[in-house]
Amino acid sequence: MKLFSSYNRILSIITLSGLLIIGFLFYQTLGQYINKQIDDHLYEELLEVQDFAHVKNILPSPDGFYDVVVKYKKINSLSDPRRSFADTNFYNPKKKHTESARYLRTQLVLDGQSYEITIMASKFERQEQIKSIILIILLPVLALLLVLWLVNRFLIKRMWLPFRQLLANIKAFNINQEKVFEPIHTNIEEFKELNKAVLDVSLKAKSDYREVKLFTENASHEMMTPLAVINSKLDTMLQSNTLGKEESEILNDLYKATSKLTKLNQSLLLLVKIDNNQLQDKTEINLKTLLQEKLAYFQEFIQERNLEVKTEMAEFSFYANQSLMEVLVNNLLSNTIRHNYDGGSIQITLMPDCLICSNTSTHGPLDPVKIFERFYKDSASDGTGLGLAILKQVCLRQNYELSYSYQQQQHHFKIIFNGQESKT
């Protein structure tokens, strides 16, 4: 729920219930006040009746009253001489409908005969008055509330504007990109503070991230020289004339491990390089030609595994960095070959703006998120576990859309080259 809605909900509950209670009390008070007025009037009429009876010794004619109805009823004995006021309904013969009314009932004795006198006054007009009064008061109050609500809404929207901007800027912030967090301009103290805090955090995150990258880069570089020493010593040992079968096997394993370590280091360095946007100069790349070149390059690997390569390639040229595209195609193709089975197939589909590499594999569907993580690989693979991570990083940097899916027993890697001006 939005802050404004939550605030509004509470506010409207309070306002409405307040309005109801006040309205009810107001109505009650007004009603009682009016009852009292009618009662006074009824009492005056009663006094008139009593005076009349006292002077003339007869009861006045019921028709002689204006705006009240007077009834007499003979009763046997005086039971309750007190005056009692109460509400009732009566049929107004002039208006021909029932109206609510107020009556005064009392008893009196005239010439030894007890009478019950009921004087009744219509409340209709008074009620109409109450209604008008309430409407006159309530309507402006409601209008005022509505105006307040609108003003509130507008004001809050305006006041939260810097917050929205701040949020958008935070969302736009990417630790990977060169662009720093963009602070907002506002006079509101709270937002200023938030802005500053976010700015500080973003700068800290950026510098930490840079340090980590720098560390990776330096560590990898520093390792290259010792690796070169190991490699050269192995090469020297290899020249020894006393090399037996056992030593040769050891040497072989050492070569393999060194080569893997080298490859790993190179991949890490490549990742850092892509991260740092160091490969920027773009040239026109004909992806179809590049794919064909790389397929020829991998030809032996494909033949060795007896893989069937199906290609369906349209012409597609666009501007990109040559090295990055080579890395991309290399990784995609070597992936389809590496994780295939002997006699399997590879399908390469190139459409303008979109490249799909599919391959058969002994593996079932893979986790589409995890496969792009660094060092994620199955135990049987002797790769570095960085190939797909590099692929993802290349795509991320160039805003290409990389996705993985598993359909019809085939793994599909799809790259959509977003925002490229196709030159076909």
Binding site: M224, A228, S232, D235, Q239, L251, E300, F301, E304, N330
Partner: protein, 225 residues
């Protein structure tokens, strides 16, 4: 031939020295900028192996100095940094080749020989090994004057082995020479076997002696004996 190795890492310097000397070359070495500066100023070398990061200076400065004093020594940069910019800078400053650490000594030697060959102004691009004759420019291979048709990879491989004759070349080194960065693929060792088998067959078919010798499954040696 005479070489200068400018490299601060002692282990690496020694190995290179040993490998090159065993081929009958003369090697000078310098472990820092100053030594390198002095040696390349005074003597002439066929090729200088130059490390770019030295404890007391930049290797590229040595290269600049070399060009300033108008020396025509060949230069092979050996660097731990696989950076395109540095590569371009080095090559534009007059280096002949750029080799990234770590490397195989056989690769290093093949490159050094290629540099020396290119630098050889007599235009002698032919390498002769008994009845075998390789033209490094036209990539043609002849046995007793008869042309042998080799694929690009096969002729690359042959040149590599001939350059490092009498040396054991590990399969690893051979694979990396042919496939470069993508050499980590499984099966790649099988291809080297296949390539060498084909190469041997093509050469022996036209009457060339089989100079390839397998060494305990770890590699091959191209030698007369």
């Amino acid at each position: 031939m005479k070489f200068l190795i400018v490299e601060d890492e002692e282990g690496l310097r020694k190995s290179i020295d040993q490998y090159l000397t065993a081929e009958g070359n003369i090697c000078d070495s310098a472990s820092n900028y100053d030594q390198g500066y002095q040696k390349l100023s005074i003597y002439d070398y066929d090729c200088i192996l130059l490390d770019l990061t030295l404890p007391d200076g930049e290797g590229l400065q040595l290269l600049k100095h070399l060009k300033k004093i108008n020396k025509a020594d060949g230069v092979l940069i050996i660097s731990a940094r696989n950076s395109l910019d540095q590569k371009i800078e080095g090559l534009s400053l007059g280096a002949d080749d750029y080799l990234i650490k770590p490397f195989h000594l056989s690769e290093l030697y093949a490159r050094v020989l290629a540099i020396v060959r290119r630098r050889n102004f007599n235009g002698n691009s032919i390498i002769q090994f008994n009845e075998l004759e390789i033209d490094t420019v036209s990539k043609e291979t002849k046995v007793n004057g008869q042309l042998v048709y080799l694929t690009r990879k096969e002729s690359d491989l042959l040149l590599y082995f001939v350059s490092n004759k009498n040396k054991v070349i590990s399969k690893n080194a051979a694979v990396e020479h042919i496939w470069g960065d993508e050499a980590d693929m499984a099966y790649s060792f099988n291809f080297i076997y296949t390539h060498i088998k084909n190469l041997r067959k093509k050469l022996t078919d036209v009457g060339c002696k089989d100079y390839f010798h397998s060494v305990y499954g770890i590699g091959y040696k191209f030698t007369e004996a």
